[in-house]
């Protein structure tokens, strides 16, 4: 009996009138957990009843505690007829099950009814007494923390990042059970809500068990989804990244981590297998040479190993790249090698994270994705969801082999999704192939990585751009150049990723949201034929989406995409593809060439003219975009020619590479054959359309930026004003002119208009940026397209706009140096360029000596200290400038930041008291998250039979979403939180039947409940001495790296 759940019903307020005669209500409450039910007394004739009940105690297994939601039903007592239900509250008690989070849930919860919406509120207090249970065969996983946030949560440190965890549970959908024919819509909706709540709990518990088996203590980037498969059932599935987290302030809590968590997750049955170590002696993958050598001579040599060689796409890597699979049998297994190959032993070396601790990400290969079309069949045995498991396993395998083909041993920013229409289901998975630093994947090897980090830090800021695959055996045609930053490694000309921009990446200018939109008509068909038709269309769609993205990226004058998310939605008679990503200009990658248009019939004069006109328009657009997004790649002055660092290729707009230096020339030119221009051939009207559509994308109005990553590259000075919103649009296509073009145009207009509306609506927030813009497309009916957007608008201070995204320390230093620019006669390149390619020999020497002498080559610290030295040096050499330097440095230090916010914060802080903040981001600008209280994962159904009276479909959905927000806020507040971060609306399924005056909507939302403190409220340990300040930050940075 390992847990005692205690519930007290305090009071109700604003209850609806249930008795028309007296205009009052005789309310009482049923509290149900598992199969036990308690009741309060009836509180007669009041809309604000004060029950003040005793503590209702439930003695339950912790397994049940995790699975079951607490169910509170408010009813109106009726002497003569059946009691009328007023509404329900489901409370997930999981947050009470781990020690660091909430200790009590107490607050006003909206009473929700699936037909009437919110009907008053009820004040409930919930507590859990948990007894320690050391039974290792236990079925529960209490204590494992869950985070929706796809980065290491702010007040934690990742000790080990174990890897991928997944699970799915299936059940029959109550909506499709025979009983649904005879029960009321309310009963049916409630059955569904209850079931999903139960299934989520079970899923979370099972995932937790897997995490415990891996010796982790948390799941980060937890993503849970529902597949409403209709007749064939209901699937709840979740993926996440198991980690061992350590709370930053309390280093005591430290779980002994196991060296190689090498269990095959799939094969660990929960009940049967008593020994979790069965597989620990499984084949490890020893590697000949684990050093990540980045010496210029062997630039491309990188280990690219993976556990499976089934597709035998193993790239031939230069030297020291033993890519031995499991089948390769055990080599001489050295201990260190074994620990380092931890990754290879995982069935799926996937990470749902999109942002990483510094140094974690070594290289990024590119986006990998896999899709498969399946025919749904009834799930026969809910306890053994083998089919669905097998489907996903297949897809994951494919992803893994793709990653391997890119010379990568891991996939980051991994996500999975489905699209279902009738009995056809498209399963999709995507991620970014990457090479990771094994240091985070197991513990105790920090010293082993030292040497490696030494080398790493040379290329740290551009390192992730460097190709992980073998140049001679490229998995796809790409044009390689030497990195524009370090000039030692090869980089591709464009880089697509699904992750957030690494914080240490050097970006020029600002980023922007880039979308590719595509529709394809498809014949209506049944079952097999339908699935085949879809499978046949998919590759073409993928290709076109990719082409569109590429074209738009070039049109923006940018060279990399982050946060790429390609969604393919299947409908009765069409397929839709929507790709969103944030384009940026990475300083390390070459300047993208323009777009060249070529006609097929060169003889026709007017045609020619038309083409050239078009070409001009495109060139103008590119130039305009470059200006708009402030893309001015630094031009390195003449004097460095002949310096040991290879000279960068001048790729500014007018000046095409005029002088190449040394031996690279030939190689570069070879690989660059057609690189500078991306040729679009206009050979038919389709292509013409494409070009037109390229040019129709309107940039956001001035003062607005948008991106789908967490924050906008190039903007740092966020104010605390945020506005999260959800916008839904449904359009009906006229069935007459359903051609691909018309469809494309409609879809394009829909998305563009939606964005325009958002810009218009939020114009009062200018200057602001729409962050984390998340588009979801669904095709609820034949001619309906539904687009759902969730994003957050954050204002920023225009005056203090900075050009680069850096860590705070760097930021301050950078600002300092910018401030001092004139005074110290710094060349601008000093600030905007990254250090390794820095042209000043003294600085470089200094850096090198520092790194080699100190032996602590944490790149951050290096840069930091050398910058300080540099500033000092410069300041001293130039007259009495030193005093002034000090002052400015102080201003720019974190303390200064706090002061700055002081100015703007108080009115906001006062005005927003009480309103729980909601944001899809993992942080709150201008505030510090001090505590994570647990995940919020809520599922609501709302149905109406009086659609017109509720304001039509728009009114209905608007009210429902507002109610969902209110309920999320109430639950967060009850946990003691004041914000929910990483908020996401995962599902919004809307069905209407206007003829019957009916509509139904299902919404699933999740996020992390947190406590935040405004930075202005935090007492900042203000240090008067700027250098000390910086140094302390540096040390801190060192600790966290």
């Amino acid at each position: 009996m390992p847990g005692k759940l205690k519930v007290k019903i305090v009071a109700g307020r604003h209850l609806p009138v249930m008795d028309r005669a007296s205009d009052l209500t005789d309310a009482f409450v049923e509290v149900k957990f598992g199969n036990t039910t308690f009741k309060t007394d009836v509180y007669l004739k009041s809309l604000n009843p004060q029950w003040n009940s005793e503590w209702f105690k439930f003695e339950v297994d912790d397994e049940d505690l995790q699975d079951e939601p607490l169910q509170i039903t408010v009813l109106d007592h009726d002497t003569y007829s059946a009691n009328d239900a007023i509404g329900k509250v489901y409370i997930d008690i999981d947050p009470l099950l781990y020690s660091e989070a909430a200790t009590v849930i107490s607050g006003w919860f909206p009473i929700y009814d699936t037909i009437h919406g919110i009907r008053g509120e009820i004040n409930v207090v919930v507590k859990v007494d948990l007894f320690n249970d050391l039974n290792r065969f236990r079925q529960s996983s209490c204590g494992v923390k869950f985070f929706c946030t796809t980065s290491i949560p702010k007040c934690y440190r990742a000790v080990i990042i174990h890897g991928f965890v997944e699970e799915l549970v299936v059940n029959e959908d109550p909506e499709y059970q025979w009983i649904d024919r005879i029960r009321t819509p309310r009963a049916s909706n409630e059955a569904r809500q209850r079931l999903i709540s139960l299934m989520s709990g079970e899923l979370q518990r099972k995932i937790g068990l897997k995490v415990l088996e891996m010796r982790g203590n948390a799941v980060v980037g937890y993503l849970q989804c529902f597949d409403l498969e209709g007749e064939s059932g209901l699937v709840v599935r979740a993926i996440g990244t198991a980690c061992t987290l350590d709370k930053l302030s309390s280093p005591a809590a430290f779980l002994p981590a196991c060296n190689s968590p090498s269990k095959e997750m799939k094969e660990i049955p929960f009940n049967e297998d008593p020994n979790p170590n069965t597989h620990s002696s499984g084949p490890s993958t020893p590697l000949k040479n684990q050093t990540y050598s980045f010496s210029p001579s062997k630039s491309y040599s990188r280990q690219s190993s993976s556990s499976d060689t089934d597709l035998s796409l193993t790239p031939k890597t230069g030297m020291g790249s033993g890519s031995a699979g499991k089948e390769g049998g055990p080599f001489k297994a050295l201990l260190r090698q074994q620990t380092q190959s931890a990754l290879e032993q995982r069935e799926f070396p996937f990470f749902t994270l999109t942002a990483f601790p510094p140094g974690f990400l070594v290289h990024v290969g590119g986006v990998v994705s896999a899709r498969s079309v399946k025919l749904l069949d009834r799930i026969h045995n809910p306890d053994e969801p083998e089919t669905r498991d097998a489907w996903w396993a297949e897809i994951r395998q494919e992803i893994k082999s793709h990653a391997k083909a890119l010379g990568c041993h891991a996939v980051v920013g991994y996500s999975e999704s489905t699209s279902i229409c009738e009995e056809v289901c498209i399963l999709s998975a995507s991620g970014t192939a990457a090479v990771l630093n094994p240091r985070f994947l197991q513990d105790g090897t920090v010293e082993g990585c030292l040497e490696q980090r030494l080398e790493e830090n040379l290329s740290i800021r551009c390192g992730f751009c460097h190709i992980p695959y073998d140049e001679l055996n490229m998995p796809f045609p790409a044009h390689l150049t030497y990195c524009y930053n370090c000039r030692k490694q090869k980089v591709p000309d464009v880089l697509f990723t699904t992750i957030d921009l690494p914080t240490d990446a050097t970006v020029i200018g600002k980023g922007c949201l880039i979308q590719a939109r595509l529709c394809r008509l498809k014949k209506k068909a049944q079952a097999e034929a339908n699935a085949t038709a879809i499978s046949n269309l998919l590759p073409f769609m993928e290709y076109e989406v990719h082409t569109q993205l590429m074209n738009k990226l070039k049109l923006k004058g940018m060279n990399a995409l982050f946060g790429l998310r390609i969604q393919i939605t299947v409908g009765e008679n069409m397929l839709m593809g929507l790709a969103s990503a944030t384009g940026v200009y990475l300083a390390a990658l070459p300047t993208p060439g323009g777009i060249q248009i070529a006609g097929k019939t060169p003889n026709d004069g007017s045609y020619e003219q038309h083409i050239s006109h078009m070409q001009k328009k495109i060139n103008d657009t590119i130039a305009k975009n470059k200006e708009l997004y402030e893309i001015n790649p630094p031009e390195i002055s003449e004097e460095i020619i002949g310096s040991p660092i290879p000279e960068p290729r001048q790729r500014s707009r007018l000046l095409r590479s005029q002088s190449e230096s040394s031996d690279e020339v030939t190689e570069l030119d070879l690989s660059h054959g057609k690189k500078d221009a991306f040729v679009l051939e206009i050979d038919d009207t389709d292509a013409m359309e494409d070009v037109h559509s390229l040019l129709t994308d309107v940039p956001p109005p001035s003062g607005f930026y948008s991106c789908n990553t967490e924050i906008m590259p190039g903007i740092n000075n966020w104010t605390s004003e945020i506005q999260m919103f959800t916008s839904v649009r449904v359009i009906r296509l006229s069935s007459l002119n359903l051609t691909n073009q018309a469809l494309n145009k409609n879809f394009n207009d829909l998305c563009e208009n939606l964005l325009k509306s958002l810009y218009f609506k939020l114009r009062s927030m200018i200057p602001c940026c729409l962050c984390h813009v998340n588009f979801t497309v669904s095709l609820p009916e034949d001619e309906l397209i539904q687009v759902t957007v969730t994003a957050v608008a954050i204002t920023f201070d225009k005056n203090q706009a900075l050009q680069t995204t850096k860590t705070p320390v760097e930021k301050s230093l950078q600002r300092a140096s910018t401030d001092n620019e004139e005074l110290l006669q710094f060349p601008l390149e000093l600030c905007s360029d990254s250090l390794p390619s820095h042209p000043f020999p003294p600085v470089k020497e200094h850096l090198e000596s520092a790194s080699s002498n100190s032996g602590i080559p944490a790149a951050q610290r290096d840069r930091c200290s050398s910058w300080i030295e540099l500033i000092k040096l410069k300041a001293q050499t130039i007259r009495r400038g030193s005093i002034k330097t000090t002052v400015t440095v102080e201003k720019a230090s974190p303390v200064g930041d706090g002061n700055f916010r002081n100015r703007s914060a108080p009115p906001c802080a006062n005005s927003t008291v009480g309103v729980v903040k909601m944001t899809p981001l993992s942080f709150i600008p201008g505030a510090k998250i001090t505590k994570y209280l647990g995940i919020i994962n809520m599922f609501f159904i709302r149905e109406t039979t009086s659609l017109r009276e509720e304001g039509g479909v728009s009114g209905f959905l608007h009210a429902f979403i507002a109610e969902v927000f209110a309920m999320v806020r109430a639950h967060v507040a009850a946990l003691g939180g004041n914000a929910v971060v990483s908020y996401i609306m995962k599902q919004c399924v809307f069905m209407e039947n206007p003829n019957k005056n009916q509509a139904q909507c299902l919404i699933n939302v999740s996020g992390d409940a947190v406590v935040f403190v405004r930075e202005s409220d935090l007492e900042v340990v203000s240090s008067q001495q700027p250098t000390t300040n910086c140094q302390s930050s540096c040390t801190e940075g060192e600790v966290t790296t």
């Binding site: 604003h14 919110i118 109005p701 004003e721 506005q723 999260m724 919103f725 959800t726 916008s727 839904v728 649009r729 449904v730 359009i731 009906r732 296509l733 006229s734 409609n746 207009d749 829909l750 208009n753 325009k756 509306s757 958002l758 810009y759 218009f760 609506k761 939020l762 114009r763 009062s764 309906l784 539904q786 009115p907 906001c908 005005s911 927003t912 009480g914 309103v915 903040k917 909601m918 304001g951 479909v953 728009s954 009114g955 959905l957 608007h958 009210a959 979403i961 507002a962 109610e963 927000f965 209110a966 806020r969 109430a970 809307f990």
Partner: protein, 367 residues
């Protein structure tokens, strides 16, 4: 391509002041869009007409939903803030304030009328007369009625009650107190003679009367709350009205009247530009003012209070072209000199009556 559904829901509710104004004024979406286009917003923001249409629709829907919540019993209006929190509190209050704001022209039409179905039927005419859309008239009328209904049954300060239950600003709460007070006492304000008076004039008088002539004004909390059936602030103090009859002696007793006149005349001689006119009219004016007081026991005469005041005092003075300063001198002296009348015993009563009346008359005395 037709838009079936188009919504925008924020964590905090954004309210566009301009659209809100248009909505309050009762414009249809189409009209509102046309007006917004005319305001040049498209050029300013570079938006398209479709965007504007969508934005306007969305705002109208939001307002409509907020309106529904505004209509639920006021004790539950906290819900409104919970369900649709504003980005900050002040703008939210301005939303409620905006909703309860009224047009001067409209309120003048219904001021003092019974807030009943009958009056509601006349809204058509009022709408035509004032040029305010019927929708807006209805909203304003319903607001008056809603506030009236709620505070009718409440004790304590009228202004405070309104302010607390409807989240209104102090200024607006005072105005509503006046409206409620007028509606409750059914003061006639629609007569032609009274047309020159603004709502502000009446509100000013109402405030003075609430402060001095109601039960609440006396400050004596009823000992047994159940026996106290009258509303503290909304009903005039019946006992006080009854007592006012005693003032009649001031004009009925000829000696007293003459003495009063001579006192006033002595004090004002040489100070008043219109002295001779005053001297000639004194008895008439005094009779008028005292008779008004004596009649207040009848409900009908209470209703005609303002008509009487204008007829018996304002108009005679105005026809003799008294400047306002002279009116002030006269009224001050007129009420003060009663204290010197030895035979008069109702000094306190006189002060309570004249103190308020003096303020009202001065406010009412203009063109």
């Amino acid at each position: 391509m037709t838009s079936e559904l188009d919504i925008f829901v924020g964590n905090t509710t954004l309210i566009d002041e301009d659209v809100y104004r248009l909505w309050l004024d009762g414009y249809s979406v189409t009209d509102a869009v046309a007006l917004r286009v005319r305001s040049g917003i498209l050029e300013q923001t570079g938006a398209t007409a479709a965007v504007l249409q969508s934005d306007t629709m969305d705002h109208y829907r939001t307002f409509h939903m907020l309106e529904r919540l505004l209509h639920i019993p006021p004790s539950r209006q906290a819900l409104l803030i919970e369900r649709y929190p504003g980005p900050a509190r002040p703008p939210f209050l301005s939303f409620v304030g905006g909703y309860y704001a009224f047009d001067e022209a409209f309120v003048r039409e219904v001021l003092g009328k019974k807030l009943s179905k009958g009056t509601k039927k006349d809204l058509d005419d009022i709408s035509t007369k004032t040029g305010i859309t019927l929708k807006s008239c209805r909203r304003q009328f319903d607001n008056f009625k809603r506030v009236f209904k709620v505070v009718e049954e409440m004790r304590g300060s009228l202004v405070d009650n309104i302010q607390q239950h409807f989240l209104l600003s102090d200024r607006l709460a005072r105005d509503y107190a006046a409206i409620v007070f007028f509606a409750n006492n059914r003061f006639e304000t629609g007569k032609k003679k009274l047309q020159y008076l603004s709502f502000g004039d009446f509100a000013f008088c109402a405030e003075l009367m609430i402060q001095n002539w109601t039960l609440g004004a006396v400050g004596e909390a009823p000992i047994d709350p159940d026996s106290q059936m009258d509303d503290m602030d909304m009903d005039l103090d019946k006992e006080f009205l009854q007592d006012l009859k005693e003032l009649k002696v001031l004009v009925a007793d000829k000696d007293l009247l003459d003495l009063h006149k001579s006192l006033v005349c002595t004090a004002l001689r040489g100070k008043l530009g219109v002295f001779s006119e005053m001297e000639a009219n004194f008895k008439n004016l005094s009779r008028g003012l005292v008779n008004v007081a004596a009649k207040l026991t009848h409900n009908k005469d209470v209703r005609d209070l303002f008509v009487d005041l204008v007829e018996k005092f304002v108009e005679p003075c105005r026809s003799d072209h008294w400047p306002l300063s002279d009116v002030r001198f006269f009224l001050n002296q007129y009420s003060a000199s009663v204290h010197s009348l030895d035979g008069f015993r109702h000094q306190a009563l006189w002060d309570r009556y004249m103190g308020t009346l003096r303020g009202c008359l001065l406010r009412l005395y203009h063109d």
